[in-house]
């Protein structure tokens, strides 16, 4: 009963849901890219990279979704639900990507701290010694 209701709603608002998931992920990617390209402050650039990351993760998990699917866990009561489980591969990939994203962010931030201590500024257009 619940499943039928869900299917009805899913078919009826399919375009809005698609726009919601894909549109949000693409918008996040573009916002992240905008921050990376436009901002002068290094910390804001790293924040932009993190937002870009979030968009990619959302897109991956969104592509793996299946209409009315459950989590790919064979918990009690779901032993025979293998036919209506969502794709587990993108979820595992995103799990890896989040950890790598964390490592990249932390190393980037520590490099920014070093740069700030050396130049007393975190703005890339004021760090003159990078130019030659």
């Amino acid at each position: 009963m619940m499943q039928e209701e869900f299917n009805e709603i899913f078919v009826k608002y399919h375009e809005i849901i698609t726009l919601g998931v894909y549109g949000t992920s693409i918008a996040l990617m573009l916002i992240g890219l905008y921050a990376v390209l436009m901002k002068k402050n290094l910390v804001k650039i790293v924040i932009g990279l993190s937002i870009f990351d979030a968009g990619i993760h959302l897109l991956f998990v969104g592509i793996g979704y299946i209409k009315g699917g459950t989590a790919p866990i064979f918990s009690p009561g779901y032993e025979n639900a293998a036919n209506r489980m969502v794709d587990p591969v993108p979820q595992a990939l995103v799990l890896t990507a989040i950890v790598i994203g964390f490592a990249v962010t932390s190393v980037a931030l520590s490099l920014i701290i070093r740069l700030y201590k050396h130049h007393n500024t975190a703005k890339i257009d004021q760090i003159k010694s990078l130019k030659w």
Binding site: F10, S75, V104, S106
Partner: protein, 240 residues
């Protein structure tokens, strides 16, 4: 001028992303029949995990068993990140002496709250990584939750110091046990990180053979590494 160029570039990238992504219908079943003779990758994982690995959580089976070597690389990346941060922010011994943590003295409310919350957060994290093969979550998530508990303590107590010797030992033992379990699989199953799935029954804490043990090791390693990163980052001296 530069702004206009960048907005045009972003519009182009956005257009092509939308054009590509909207060709993938949302919510469509792309796994196909999982009983067919030539299933897709996801279909193979979904149909074979329960019989071959005896793990309820398919994602855990993929992360720790099918792509176990990948996870070993991931843990190595995390370890390298910690080492990299420690060497980038390295201070000499004489500088070390007058290091004070950046945090302002916190109010009594935060200190009392942190003391009450810390064991609960640590318990939740340990629960998440011990039950990684039964419920959503696992070593990385649980380890991160434990590290947030340590973060709470680090920012609320100025005198709270993590013991570096114990942390190094936990990290080394956790990393080594991951590799040793992999070598054990090499001996018993002829594949690195090969599993011994006959132990326990499905959906009980003792199931999945070596998978929970690996995830517990990963959980300890991640918790200790993240705490180390937070400790290093919080000990930075402000510029005079």
């Amino acid at each position: 001028m530069k702004k206009v160029f960048i907005i045009i570039l972003l519009a182009l990238i956005g257009y092509f992303l939308v054009d590509t992504v909207y060709n993938i219908p949302f919510g469509e079943n792309r796994i196909g029949s999982i009983e067919s003779d030539h299933p897709t990758v996801a279909g193979y994982y979904l149909s074979n995990t329960v019989e071959k690995s005896r793990v309820a959580n398919v994602i855990t089976a993929i992360v720790v068993n099918y792509r176990g070597l990948d996870t070993l690389g991931e843990v190595t990346v995390l370890f390298l990140a910690t080492t990299g941060i420690a060497s980038i922010l390295y201070r000499r011994k004489e500088e070390e002496e007058d290091v004070e943590r950046l945090s302002l003295p916190s109010s009594m409310l935060i200190r009392t709250g942190a003391r009450v919350l810390f064991p609960i957060i640590a318990l939740l994290g340990i629960y998440v990584f011990i039950h990684g093969h039964l419920t959503p979550g696992g070593g990385f998530q649980g380890g991160t939750i434990v590290a947030t508990g340590f973060l709470l303590m680090l920012i609320s107590y100025k005198g709270f110091n993590t013991n570096h010797n114990i942390m190094t030992w936990i990290e080394s033992i956790a990393g080594l046990s991951f590799i040793l379990i992999g070598v054990w699989g090499l001996i018993s199953d002829n594949t690195f990180l090969g599993n011994i799935p006959e132990i326990g029954k499905l959906n009980s804490l003792l199931s999945g053979g070596l998978i929970p043990i690996i995830y517990i090791a990963v959980g300890f390693k991640v918790a200790v590494e993240l705490t180390g990163i937070l400790d290093i980052l919080l000990k930075i001296k402000p510029n005079k």
